[in-house]
Symmetry: C2
Subunit: 339 residues, 2 copies
């Protein structure tokens, strides 16, 4: 049975309706009827061929919430009819040491939903059961999609790099990722400072839970913060006054990047040695961490702030994101049978 | 009572005999009669004024082993007659959060033995009791001195950054620091690869316990090692093919620097993000880690490999180190009453 979808045939052209035959469902895989799908900057990057690994036509979309409609032999944990989420990954090998150690998101043989398969800008989407996570009670399915990429990208390092509720933390960049990071860290119990280069985001950052807001790219504003932060999470993907950010770390502090800044970060050895400091990065998170995040969100009533579009307006949604106007995440709602 | 010592009056001139009155012993401090004192590159840097914080005449030396000859009121743990070691630090504030948390070596109000006081190129030396560590049974006092700076510099991160006996580790630079790092990591249970740019050190590195030796500055030799190492300890202080070293890290791997490379290390965000990798640095170690190191050395019969000179030949010893001929550490033996 074919799947209706929206695909791009080339970089920077509007998506068009597209149908494809997905073939038989592989063992251990799950098929999900898409109810909602977030739109992420990575979708734009893949659609536009920026990473040099796009095969056209491409069906993007990797922040899916929907209902399980089929489970292949060997699939576990989920049942037909259950509501689940699917994010960046479609599969991991399940047998390498990295997978066995619970870091399946670092598996070298993982596949991405939109880099190796057809994504969630479609009626139905498929992934290995390990990457098909049940939604806990209390999470609104219509806004949960962005947790599966944007959310786990910032929750992952908070959970895995030893951030403590007693820590003083910073979030650099208030946007699709940063607005969730501020909420997570506030609920985590930390003293939270938001860094933004946009004065108009100041009040919004406070509303999200930041205790303080500081200009992110102003060295003079950063200087008085020297030695203060245990953890600074960089969600921006632009060069920053790195010297001042490193100096703003407390002893044993960590500067952690999830924004793919293209220019290498210049890290002087002495900036690390004196205070026993760390610079690190991470991609998304493991299945166990995703499940922890969903429980944490349900318990703390954390949801992405989203703007919603019906699927038939997918090109408007993409343009909205491209223009940098999204506050803070864009979600598409299924309307296949409404047309 | 004055203390006899050797001091430098200016950069790069021979040391000369020098006497000074140390004044009353401060509360909580300990005075130690120097039996042996290692010579470290940091002594040369301070003598030569390279760090811009040298006050002449300077009495360098900060790898001391000797006998306690006086304890001031409030001093703990050590008694007159006991054999102890003193290293880079003379004191820490003891009351800031960093000190209270057991990271006294990161205290902002710490003082260095040779940066703030008179060092161990002398009959007697003084430090706060916290930085005056009893030598356990089974450690040879005549070779233990270098553990208190060179040793703890590499043992500190092994102990504090989560290196596991199951890890595959690398040591970059086989010298005063690196030769100890190889021994520590071999005894720690790891698979140890030594990186050196000097072909003649190959056999020596294997003799120290390395399982394998690789050319440290040859990108072609590093490429096949991509994704291999959980922990790479950089003891060299020269620029390296950083891109290849980052690529050589396993998922969740760590590149840790203790050599003060002057040029910033260019760290691409994507090199960290993909594999959830870390870049970090550290200075020496805390009093608790120093005590752990000494016990570990006694249990595993690890001692620095040293060349020994009597104090009266101190200038020969410094020249030997300056010329890069030391294999691997230089130690001075007290001979004050032998002349």
């Amino acid at each position: 049975m074919t799947i209706r979808a929206y695909a791009a045939d080339a970089p920077r052209v509007p998506l068009r309706p597209f149908e494809f035959d997905p073939g038989p469902l592989p063992d251990e895989w799950v098929e999900v009827a898409v109810e909602h799908c977030g739109v992420c900057h990575s979708d734009l990057s893949m659609i536009d061929g920026e990473w040099g690994q796009t095969t056209y036509p491409i069906v993007a979309g990797h922040e899916v919430v929907g209902r399980v409609v089929a489970v292949a032999p060997g699939a576990k944990r989920v049942a037909v009819g259950e509501r689940v989420g699917v994010g960046w990954y479609a599969s991991s090998c399940t047998e390498c040491r990295t997978c066995l150690a619970g870091s399946q998101h670092l598996c070298r043989d993982s596949t991405g939903l939109i880099t190796h398969h057809r994504g969630g800008f479609a009626e139905r989407v498929r992934a290995h059961w390990l990457w098909t996570t049940p939604l806990p009670e209390g999470l609104d399915p219509s806004t949960a999609g962005p947790l599966f990429c944007g959310g786990i990208t910032v929750f992952g390092p908070i959970a895995r790099f030893g951030v403590k509720p007693t820590d003083r933390v910073g979030v650099v960049g208030i946007g699709g990722l940063g607005h969730l990071a501020v909420r997570f860290l506030r609920a985590w119990g930390c003293e939270v400072t938001a860094f933004t280069s946009t004065a108009s985001k100041r009040a919004e950052a406070l509303g999200l839970g930041a205790h303080e807001v500081v200009a992110s790219s102003d060295p003079a504003a950063l200087k008085p913060l020297a030695g203060r932060f245990d953890f600074v999470l960089v969600t921006a993907n632009v060069p920053l006054p790195w010297h001042e950010y490193l100096a703003a770390l407390a002893p044993r502090g960590r500067l952690h990047v999830v924004g793919a800044v293209l220019e290498p970060i210049p890290v002087p050895a002495f900036a690390l040695i004196g205070g026993e400091r760390n610079v690190s990065g991470s991609p998304l998170g493991s299945p166990a961490t995703i499940a922890d995040m969903l429980d944490f969100c349900a318990r703390h009533r954390i949801a992405p702030t989203v703007e919603r579009f019906p699927f038939r307006r997918i090109n408007d949604a993409l343009d909205h994101l491209r223009a940098g106007r999204a506050r803070w995440r864009v979600v598409l709602d299924a309307d296949w049978d409404a047309a």
